[in-house]
Amino acid sequence: MDNMQQQFVEAGTLMLAGMVFVFAFLGVLIVFINTVLARLAIKFPDPIVVPHSRANKKSSSKAKGDISPAVVAAISGAVKRYRAQHGQDK
């Protein structure tokens, strides 16, 4: 089967060329990331988002059962109003 043999040769060549190319392509991409992108990352760093003591808030709210300060403020007001309306705790 001469034809089959020829096809195998073609398939083999394709396999070789293909794998070489894939590795070369993605290899160059590695170089691109390690050089171009790395330099860009240094030159144009992400703006630092000042978390205005968000970390603190988070940890404190976690310690107290994950209630946000805004909700606490709202509830504080509500409790005050409730008392004013009901004349309790005086």
């Binding site: 794998m19 392509f25 993605l26 160059v28 991409l29 992108l37 860009l40």
Partner: protein, 377 residues
């Protein structure tokens, strides 16, 4: 009576051919896999339904003037649907893990050996009587090993449209089977110690890197492999829309409504290729067999590459993440994570496996481009 005869002759019962019934059962099987087993339901449900519709006698869904005919020729024959899907997938993809650990690109490259080995296997199948795959057919079949649905559909529509149905069924079925196919191979090729390896936390990636990355990928594809630019280009467009942050409304639409609409019609259109003549033959069995081989070889190559890299790398590399190089995003990455957790309950590989996982998408698009360039001419 004349009307009744006419009515009887216009029933399906009076016109069924055996092949059509079998193909409808195949369609029902796909629906079963989609609904009861949650196998890639987004594509298999419309595809299974399309398979049923296209085999209805008399109705002529896939003949000139039929709904599936229009869908197929407008969206799949032209390549438009898979390219729109690819844009949407690009808009859903976060390359952060890959940029943070670019070495994982090599894993995505290694896993493509599944494609090229299968190409060889497809040619070898020509020894089987009744199977006669040309190099184009073999290339279209081999791309199943890329574990990427739209890439497979795109390439098959260009190189071997008559095999499109079988190739799509195989590609999506095996993608759904990734959690079953991969783990035994991964365990067979790694030691318990290797699977326990914990990897260093990834560095944060800046916005500028994420914006320039898709452009860089596109430029390289333009320089070295223009035939892959339809796939890679639309993928990079989607990713750029995502990362640029200035066109969020376009990015959101590409990730949702546009990809959903296209998925419905892509599924129906692919299903319309599941006719008895095109599917019920030895070649389909060959394609299904080759698909399993492709996935297995791809998985194995990825794992072996990762093992090798781990030996030479400064930072430890868990070989399991090599298996994610076949793409099948994000399932393969989850499988790597799960197998890793089994060996070491503190071993969270998901983010590390996303690198080779998305590298695998690029890798198979590149492989598709090579096949188009060398075989498609």
């Amino acid at each position: 009576m004349d009307s009744l005869t006419k009515l009887w002759l216009s029933t399906g019962l009076a016109n069924f051919e055996l092949g059509q019934i079998v193909m409808m059962l195949v369609g029902c099987g796909l629906l079963y896999l989609a609904i009861a087993r949650s196998f890639e339901p987004l594509l298999l449900l419309p595809m299974g339904f399309g398979a049923i519709l296209t085999n209805i006698p008399i109705a002529g869904f896939s003949e000139a003037g039929g709904l599936l005919h229009y869908i197929y020729y407008a969206g799949i024959d032209t390549g438009i649907f898979p390219l729109i899907i690819f844009m949407g997938v690009g808009a859903m993809t976060d390359f952060g893990a890959l940029i943070a650990n670019p070495k994982t690109l090599l894993l995505g490259a290694a896993a493509q050996f599944g494609i090229f080995a299968t190409l060889f296997g497809a040619i070898a199948l020509n020894y089987v009587p009744g199977i006669e795959f040309t190099l184009k057919d073999a290339s279209a079949i081999a791309i199943i090993g890329g574990a990427d649905g739209p890439t497979a559909i795109f390439l098959a529509s260009k190189l071997a449209p008559e095999l499109l149905g079988a190739i799509a069924v195989a590609a999506y079925s095996y993608m759904a089977l990734v959690p079953i196919i991969q783990p035994p191979i991964m365990k067979a090729l790694t030691t318990e110690e290797e699977r326990k390896i914990e990897m260093k936390q990834l560095r944060p990636v800046t916005k500028i890197e994420k914006i320039i990355f898709p452009l860089g990928v596109l430029m390289m594809t333009i320089f070295f492999l223009p035939s892959a630019t339809p796939l890679v280009g639309m993928f990079c467009l989607g990713n750029l829309m995502r990362e640029s942050g200035v066109v969020d409304r376009l990015s959101t639409t590409a990730q949702n409504e546009l990809i959903n609409i296209t998925t419905i019609f892509l599924g129906l259109g692919v299903g319309s290729k599941l006719s008895a003549e095109a599917f019920l033959n030895v070649e389909t069995l060959g394609i299904l067999a080759l698909g399993a081989v492709a996935f297995s070889i791809g998985t194995a190559s990825g794992v072996l590459m990762a093992k090798t890299m781990n030996k030479f790398s400064k930072d430890p590399i868990n070989p399991l993440i090599g298996a994610a190089g076949v793409s099948a995003v994000p399932m393969a990455a989850r499988v790597a994570n799960k197998v890793g957790l089994e060996a070491n309950p503190h071993n969270f590989l998901l983010m590390h496996a996303m690198g080779p996982n998305v590298a695998g998408v690029l890798g198979s698009a590149v492989a598709a481009g090579i096949l188009l360039a060398l075989v498609g001419g």
